[in-house]
């Protein structure tokens, strides 16, 4: 029997899935891989730890589920989080840790671009928002602020490029990951000269560009032996987690959008055309030639409810956040829709789409004497999802969205899914216990192998059985409160700036934590 393996390199875990050729899951394993915050603005991962974790997870899955049942692994397809940057020397060895999407050290470079014509042109060419998350600004930061490392750097890789290079020796970057660097012209699929100049690099300092279906050479002999895989196992470079998440939900045509809510979140649409937004609020990433995944990301997804639970949950059992969260959600479900007018702005981590304001902060608004503890619980969840809705609403200025699908651990909590359906006033589909990113990678691999003629045909294969129908009366309540939410998000911009500045000035805990790590 034949099988397909998918490997997802995420910012907090490596996930490996094994599928049969029908797309049924044979087995899956996930192991944690940490992100380090050595300074308040920094967010890094150890590339060797990711590599070792990946080998460990892959080997265990193969030994537990694949080899004993005599499955033959036909191919391995990768996906990874976007925007990572890893500097390597002339021998291909890392110069320090990889920098993740959540790293804000390049804030100055991003601001500089944002306010310039050059920035506008680069955004239009590359589709990547001008934000410290983008490798364009990060590499520029290296050039300006870590000159020694910049001098020693032979290439700037993505995490996935590095991991694949360790396995096969090939140094590649796929269209999707490349289109999230801010350096790739998404219309011509060539590196963009203006962006390279701003970053201070040349094309030979980047991996070779390939389509997501490309094969990345053969596994090195030692890995063939230690993993028990044959030399003809195809290694497919694959795409980004974001592109895979929408493909994995079977969205390939217009009229549908996919919502992903894990710690952070995004609303995405797919289509043959780039979204041209005057206010530059969206990303436009490439899945394949002439196929764009567009949308907006939020920083404040499930991570905000995690925060709330840690502060106000019961924790009858030490460290049992799942139990505490369930209890809170049960409490929230007893509070009327709209939390009797208590609103929550979820911007605990600043915000990206649609307001793109790093200074934005959280807030409870509309509090009156009748509000109780449980109102806060529900308002918190509603606030997180109003933010998702606000991204969706701005997307609707450009695209007609008739139905939604949802994935990610926070978004697929039934209470949240229903709330999304009500806020959007659209049906939402999903499959429980389904991992959209991995399934997207399966579809890419299966298409490459010829099982499907095209990704369009592959996408038809996806069936999401569960449906949440919108409830009209709930929608009108949410719609009313949302208009206030929206006005607050934009209208408070001066106050956000003032409070952020004061917080920065007086911040003791941030400095203390950073100092502890440095010891």
């Amino acid at each position: 029997m034949k099988s397909i393996i998918t490997i997802e390199l995420g910012t907090n875990a490596v996930r490996v899935f094994a599928f049969d050729l029908e797309g049924n899951v044979i087995g899956s394993l996930k192991c944690y891989c940490p992100t380090f915050h050595t300074e308040p603005d920094h967010s890094e991962q150890d590339p060797e730890q990711i590599f070792i974790t990946m080998l460990y997870v892959l080997k265990n899955l193969l030994n537990e589920k694949i080899h004993p049942k005599k499955y033959k692994v036909e191919c391995i397809c990768f996906s990874s989080s976007m925007h990572s940057v890893l500097a390597v020397d002339k021998n291909g060895n890392p110069l320090g840790n990889a920098i993740t999407w959540a790293d804000n050290r390049a804030n100055k470079e991003a601001q500089e671009l944002k306010n310039s014509t050059l920035g506008k042109n680069i955004y239009n060419a590359t589709g990547t928002p001008l934000h410290p998350m983008s490798p364009l600004t990060k590499i520029s930061w290296f050039k300006n602020s870590d000159k020694e490392r910049f001098q020693q750097t032979a290439k700037f890789l993505s995490i996935k490029s590095y991991i694949i290079q360790q396995l096969t020796g090939e140094c590649l970057i796929d269209y999707s990951i490349a289109s999230a660097t801010g350096l790739l012209n998404i219309h011509t699929i060539e590196w963009e000269k203006d962006a390279l100049d701003f970053a201070g690099i040349t094309t030979d300092m980047l991996p070779d560009l390939t389509p997501v279906f490309a094969t990345a050479g053969k596994l090195k002999k030692a890995y063939q032996i230690s993993l028990g895989l044959s030399a003809d196992t195809k290694i497919i470079v694959g795409s980004s987690d974001g592109c895979m998440a929408i493909l994995g939900d079977g969205v390939k045509e217009e009229g549908r959008a996919t919502i992903t809510i894990e710690d952070s979140g995004a609303v995405r649409v797919m289509g043959g055309k780039v979204l041209q937004d005057e206010r530059r609020r969206f990303f436009n990433y490439l899945l394949t030639e002439n196929c764009y995944v567009s949308g907006g990301p939020t920083n404040n997804g499930g991570v905000v409810f995690d925060w709330f639970t840690r502060q106000f949950g019961d924790f009858k059992n030490p460290f049992d956040i799942d139990q505490s969260m369930e209890e809170l959600i049960a409490e929230a479900s007893k509070v009327p829709v709209g939390s009797d007018g208590l609103l929550f702005l979820p911007y605990l981590l600043g915000e990206r789409a649609p307001i793109w304001n790093a200074n934005a902060r959280g807030m409870y608004f509309g509090l009156n004497i009748k509000h109780e503890r449980t109102h806060f619980v529900r308002a918190t969840i509603e606030g997180i999802l109003y933010e998702i809705f606000s991204i969706g609403k701005t997307l609707e200025e450009h695209r007609n969205i008739k139905s939604l699908s949802i994935n990610g651990s926070f978004g697929t909590i039934p209470f949240c899914t229903q709330m999304i359906a009500d806020m959007f006033n659209k049906p939402v589909r999903l499959r429980s216990n389904f991992h959209s990113v991995s399934f997207g990678a399966f579809l890419v691999a299966a298409t490459e192998m010829g099982i499907y003629k095209s990704l369009d045909e592959a996408a038809l294969k996806v069936y999401l059985p569960e449906e949440y129908k919108p409830q009209k009366e709930n929608h009108s309540i949410y719609a009313g409160y949302f208009s206030v939410f929206e006005k607050l998000s934009v209208g408070l911009s001066d106050q956000f700036e003032a409070i952020a500045e004061l917080q920065h000035k007086h911040s003791t805990t941030l400095k203390k934590e950073a100092a502890l790590v440095y010891k």
Partner: protein, 295 residues
């Protein structure tokens, strides 16, 4: 309760207990200037505030202690009142000599009934601890009081009982410390702290008991939590960090394989080689060769 001080060498009560350097209780009814100067001493000092409020300087940091709080002063750390001042209130203290191993680790002495492993683990946790003040730790006061009663009344079995109580004090301090720094709400953060501690002390031969104690959990629950959160068993997670660090060192010329093995916590280069090959498919020397001559 009256004031008293027992001192090794001066008080016959302490003769059977050479490890107890001093035990005392003090009531201070007016502010005393220049009477409680900052000084360092060998051994461990444990101060339990019973009444009032004291501003003390521990290891060059200012702390305010209230009733129920305990100050823990490690060997050679400076301790005393701010500017030598002693505030109003009462407190009890115990000063113990402690064994310091060549490796710098501290362990309880021969008098203790703690197993070697537990003693090492407790010493490690006390040394790693960043905050010397245990808040609202009334247990310490109770134990100190019992030690005093045993020493003064000298009933049958008191010798064993005193040493037992000191062991108990160390156990409770350790548990309180780990719970205080890990309030049982944020496992990701707790796990990250553990990871950083492991990375800073990678050459140490960590046991699961030590790791669990650092997090403030029993080993069974610790194993379960780590496994469900990370997908690794605690030992496999540790090996994972060790190999990741070893890979980095292998990619740098000039460090011998034996040094890499020991620096990253393997007990021999053979052990390193076998573990490395099992996970990566390469022996460390093959791996190094490939990566130093790639281009």
């Amino acid at each position: 309760m009256n004031q008293f001080v027992l001192q090794q060498g001066n008080s016959k009560e302490l003769r059977p207990f050479p490890h107890i350097l001093e035990l005392g209780l003090r009531k201070n009814i007016s502010i005393q200037l220049d009477s409680f100067r900052v000084s360092s001493a060998g051994g461990i000092r444990i101060y339990n505030v019973m009444e009032g409020k004291f501003e003390w300087c521990i290891n060059h940091q200012h702390h305010v202690l209230y009733p129920g709080d305990v100050a823990l002063i490690l060997p050679d750390q400076a301790f005393g009142g701010e500017n030598g001042v002693l505030g109003i209130g009462s407190f009890a203290w115990l000063h113990l000599s402690i064994q310091k191993l060549e490796s710098g680790e501290i362990v309880t002495g021969k008098w203790s009934n703690l197993s070697e492993n537990e003693s090492l683990a407790i010493g490690k946790i006390l040394q790693l601890n960043a905050s010397p003040v245990l808040l609202k730790f009334n247990e310490a006061g109770r134990i100190l009081k019992s030690i005093q009663t045993e020493l003064f009344s000298q009933e049958i079995g008191y010798h064993a009982s005193v040493n037992h109580l000191i062991d108990e004090l160390f156990i409770q301090i350790t548990r309180h410390l780990t719970r205080q720094s890990n309030p049982g709400r944020d496992f990701p953060k707790t796990f990250m702290n553990l990871e950083q501690t492991l990375r800073r002390n990678l050459s140490h031969q960590w046991t699961v008991e030590e790791m669990a104690a650092l997090v403030g959990l029993g080993t069974t629950l610790f194993n379960e939590k780590v496994k469900s959160y990370s997908g690794f068993s605690p030992i496999n997670y540790l090996i994972n960090i060790r190999i990741s660090e070893a890979i980095k060192l292998l990619k740098r010329p000039g460090i011998s394989l034996t040094d890499i093995a020991l620096d990253t916590g393997f007990y021999s280069s053979q052990h390193f080689s076998t573990t490395f090959k099992k996970l990566t498919g390469y022996t460390p020397s093959e791996f190094r060769k490939n990566h130093l001559n790639e281009k």
